[in-house]
């Protein structure tokens, strides 16, 4: 069986059993190509379905007469405070997280020894993968008591002139207030902003950095002159993506926050505006009839907002990158 053919000579017919127009794997190509195209088309169909189903289920919640609901609230009156709460808490989270996230990204990209930078990145990814229900449990049972005991009183007493703290407010004894949720959400979105910022910081062209170094700049001056300007659009888009994540975060808010219905600027009290997502999670299991439709409609509002924020993030990112290249 192990006849080793001599090298084929010029006279040997090399594979005359194959004809040029014999279809080779053509059926396979058609099936495989079809599957791939089908999957891509299914993305389209799926998102279309999401929009249509949310719309059909939510429509009645918007159009139904206000008298159908407790308190005779129309849809706008109902969703308004939740919309406010969603945006307020997310913005707090973003303001707290962004500067720290940038600093951490700089630490990983420019300060930490290269060997451990990778491990650090791994820990930050892990931070992002911890389930939000775990953050919720941690927030309500560890962070909230600490804040209520040793952070809220000095904030009120020393910074009470700021409208969002207030000098004469009754502090939340449990710490289940807007600021606590904002801090927990900041911890949750920080890894997203860090990951994207780190990516753009690492990509800073070496030439820019070396040009700065050659002028006798210190490391911080290099970062200010070369790294930050180069990465600015990446950082902004990372922050926007973090905002998108914060807007949609559900469980941590649902577990920690002590919600009331209405618009509340105070961040240290027991009266807090709930978020759309958290409200759905809290109300949905008990809801029936038109209330379900109304909750779906609020979900649609949330979807539209996060969609807008994410679209903005990508626009900033793509505009920034093409600008940096050209």
């Amino acid at each position: 069986m192990t006849i080793i053919d001599p090298l084929p000579t010029g006279e040997q017919d090399a594979g005359s059993d194959r004809k040029l127009d014999e279809p080779v794997g053509r059926l396979g190509d058609r099936i495989f190509g079809g599957l791939s195209f089908g999957a891509a088309a299914a993305i389209l169909v799926t998102l279309g379905a999401v929009a249509i189903f949310l719309f059909t289920q939510g429509r009645e919640g918007v159009t139904a007469d206000a008298t159908n609901f407790d308190g005779d609230q129309g849809f706008v009156e109902y969703v308004g405070p939740f919309l406010f709460g969603t945006i307020y808490i997310s913005v707090i989270a973003l303001l707290l997280a962004t500067p720290v996230a940038i600093a951490v990204a700089l630490f990983v990209s420019h300060y930490a020894p290269r060997k451990i930078a990778q491990t650090l990145g791994y820990f930050i990814d892990l931070l992002a993968a911890i389930p939000s229900v775990v953050y919720g449990l941690w927030g309500i049972s560890v962070l909230a008591p600490i804040l209520a005991r040793s952070v809220f009183p000095p904030l009120r007493d020393n910074l009470g002139f700021l409208p969002f703290f207030g000098s004469d407010v009754v502090l939340s004894p449990s710490g289940r207030s807007t600021l606590t949720v904002g801090i927990v959400l900041a911890v949750m979105v920080l890894p997203i902003i860090t990951a994207i910022s780190r990516e753009v910081f690492v990509q800073t062209p070496r030439l820019h950095e070396e040009a700065s170094l050659a002028l006798g700049a210190t490391r911080w001056e290099v970062i200010r002159q070369a790294v930050i300007p180069y990465g600015r659009s990446g950082v902004i888009s990372g922050a926007m993506l973090g905002l998108g994540r914060a807007l949609g975060e559900t469980m941590a808010v649902a577990i920690i926050l002590s919600p009331s219905f209405g618009f509340f600027w105070d961040t240290l009290t027991n009266s807090n505006s709930n978020t759309i997502a958290s409200n759905i999670a809290l109300q949905f299991p008990e809801a029936a009839g038109l209330s379900v439709n109304r909750l779906v409609a609020t979900g649609l509002v949330l979807f539209v907002i996060t969609f807008g924020v994410n679209a903005l993030a990508r626009r900033i990112a793509s505009a920034g990158f093409s600008g940096a290249d050209g």
């Binding site: 006849i3 017919d13 594979g15 040029l20 080779v24 794997g25």
Partner: protein, 285 residues
Amino acid sequence: MTESVSVPELHAAAPTGDVDPNSPVDRPNRIDVTDLDIYYGDFKAVEGVSMTINPNSVTALIGPSGCGKSTFLRSLNRMHEVINGAYVDGSVVINGRDLYGPGVDPVAVRRKVGMVFQRPNPFPTMSIADNVLAGKRLNAKRMSKGDAEALVEQSLRGANLWNEVKDRLEKPGSSLSGGQQQRLCIARAIAVEPDVLLMDEPCSALDPISTLAIEELMLELKDTYNIVIVTHNMQQAARVSERTGFFSIEGTGKPGRLIEMDTTEKIFSNPTEQQTQDYVTGRFG
């Protein structure tokens, strides 16, 4: 493995219609290119090439960068079609069959006309032996262990690599040096038993010693295959080829053309065209 040698059938498949009357030898595996234009979408990359490529010899294609010689080479096994919007006008006939005729499957063409690339590109996920067998295995050809071993040895011997790697056939192909990797790629190409072997600047990424090894290999392989090589290196063309074609362009955006094709000796000593003269003497390009 096909042990029977079906010579009569082979001659039956020999060119019938488009025979070049001026061809010095009329043998199988000759390539006749007639009036070939190659397009990428609206862009005409190569224009009006006609040439005959003789079997059992090395044909070199030379010319300045961007002159379309690589594109032309790729059109000989329809590899240029990998780029979207590529098409040709004209004919390429091998053994009486037009590669661009209706119903011809480019996948089948590439099994007849093998190719070796500029940079060695062994499959990183495969061992040396599996790289050689890739053409068969990837096409789901079932082979007995003995047949497979035989084909590996035969192809690696054919590529002058057997003695260097026979003790480490299970190591990854990428564990070899650049020159060895390129010979592995040649072994991989000849394991499919093509009729024609196209080489697109096969030595441009290699050191001089590896280059020499590949050139020696080409001289051996031409006994079996019709070899066409694109090269930037005029000394290399002079060393290995019997015939040389010179491509050039008039300017950017213009299509490449075949300026002159003749015996290598003539092209390098006494070309007919002034442009060729200028190029081979280094005055241009």
